[in-house]
Amino acid sequence: MASKSFRVLPGFRLTLGYTLLYLSLIVLIPLAGVFVKTSTLSWEQFWHIITAPRALASYRLSFGASFLAAFVNVFFGIMVAWVLVRYEFFGKKVVDALVDMPFALPTAVAGITLTALYAPHGWIGQLLAPLGVKVAFTQLGVFIALTFIGLPFIVRTVQPVLEDFDPEIEEAAASLGANRWQTFWRVILPMLSPALLTGFSLAFARALGEYGSVVFIAGNMPMKTEITPLLIITKLEQFDYAGATALAVVMLVGSFAILLAVNLLQWRSSRHQAQV
């Protein structure tokens, strides 16, 4: 009790009070408004809005393309992180800095650039057109944009783990007769998996909500290339606030569920490791 009432450093009430006030005003109260607004709908109305065929098609695209993009990023993210940590090559520092580019490049800029690149006459589009592959204004375009957006997450979560990796573990695996591939698959990859899971979920959550980089390349055709955030905006522009809010609730619950699931998994795996 005594240690609680006597604090050497000042400013506890001021800083905590300000933190809570500012957090409530900017984030918590406005976000709560979404749920308050939805409660004005009856359950039937709410259910009707969120299960409309157009809404269902947008979830399929948003969740599907985000999942696929995050999955592809896991594969290439490990490769890029591995190369940056383990090997030396010309221009490595520049490459390392460039990985964060999707964080620094505004999404609208990314959107129009990717569209220009993958349009039928673009630098990449004209190579794919003879093969019959259309990217811009298709679901493939959505996937490309989301891959771009999620790229740094996996690299940046795996990189520090690889840097701190104890070489003795790999030496032990080698001396027990494992070849490099077995060592990677059975020893290194399992130890990377918590970081991979974090990176995957961050990339996935980011891709789910992404708007700017997708709207330009997607073509935005209802039922085909319309992502959920765009459907929310469409409803807002038609002054259908209740409809927009209902979809927002679905997205919020979806992304909070992902974060919660990942936190639980990490908590379990850290407990598991502590027991071992």
Binding site: I26, K37, W82, M101, A104, Y211
Partner: protein, 297 residues
């Protein structure tokens, strides 16, 4: 890193590679694969922004920038970032001070709540302010009676920008100040410094690189935000258009080169951000190492 180089040189000289290294061709394959992936997904988009911007020559580029609509978009972007970044900076310092210098219940929940805006779609970030201050919202009658415009006006843009950049400074400072501990501040207090003196002379010099890092990232996002701002702006040309929204308008007007000219400004800003970020990262990790050495000693 140094280890790896000497070790790679060693593998080249010796016919037998170490058991914990890959064969040279696997190494080359992986490097090529990674660079190819980054080349297609990162370098090509970046190069293409500038190539498209200059496709009608430098003159056209300048012409776009002399357009009053472009200039007003640039001005509004600076206003929005100029208000939201300092706000989140003060918040970040206050939150980090409360969280790292004191013990209280619910600290982890508070940290999670601070991170919340990162897991909210920018479109929803805009939507929440439309619901609160827009036509059907609880404040609408009062606002329209007093002729205060928030949605489809500058205050809404500032609010939306503040929301999406909310966690940047705080989440940068919290781990840094956690690692630095409380002993230096406590020593300053015991030696007679006031609270503010302690903050300005002891804490601030310790956290300056972390703070700057957070501010740089916060500013980059503030100037580039599209989705959230797009929902609350109303797209009134010359009045409520930020740079990213202006790019969209030019692009949809089939003025592709103009759109890319303005986009190249933001891409340049992004590159400057990356350079500053890399430079500060080095300073920051040095500060963190110093803090760790102090802890050991």
């Amino acid at each position: 890193m140094g280890d790896t180089t000497t070790f790679l040189r060693a593998t080249r000289r010796e016919p037998h590679r170490r058991a914990t290294a890959e064969s040279p061709w696997v190494r080359r394959l992986l490097i090529t694969g990674a660079l190819l992936f980054l080349g297609i997904f990162l370098v090509m988009p970046l190069v293409s922004v500038f190539a498209e911007a200059l496709s009608k020559g430098l003159g056209y580029c300048f012409h776009t920038f002399r357009d009053p609509l472009t200039l007003s978009a640039i001005k509004l972007t600076f206003i929005a970032a100029g208000i939201s970044v300092p706000l989140n900076c003060v918040f970040g310092v206050a939150a980090a001070w409360a969280i790292t210098k004191f013990d209280f219940r619910g600290k982890n929940i508070l940290i999670t709540l601070i991170d919340l805006p990162f897991s909210v779609s920018p479109v929803i970030a805009g939507l929440i302010y439309v619901l609160l201050f827009g036509a059907p919202g609880p404040f609408w009658t009062w606002l329209s009676d007093h002729n205060v415009k928030i949605i489809f006006a500058v205050p809404g843009i500032v609010l939306a920008t503040t929301f999406v950049t909310f966690p940047f400074v705080a989440r940068e400072l919290i781990p840094l100040m956690q690692a630095q501990g409380r002993t230096e501040e406590e020593a300053a207090r015991v030696l007679g410094a006031s609270g503010w003196q302690t903050f300005w002379r002891v804490t601030l010099p310790n956290i300056k690189w972390g703070l700057l890092y957070g501010v740089i990232l916060c500013n980059a996002r503030a100037m580039g935000e599209f989705g959230a701002v797009s929902v609350v702006s109303g797209h009134i040309r010359g009045l409520t258009n930020t740079i990213p929204l202006h790019i969209e308008i030019l692009y949809n007007d089939y003025n592709t080169t103009g759109a890319f000219a303005v986009a190249s400004l933001l891409a340049f800003l992004g590159l400057v951000t990356l350079v500053l970020k890399t430079w500060i990262e080095r300073k920051k990790s040095a500060a963190l190492r110093a803090a760790e050495m102090d802890l050991i000693a």
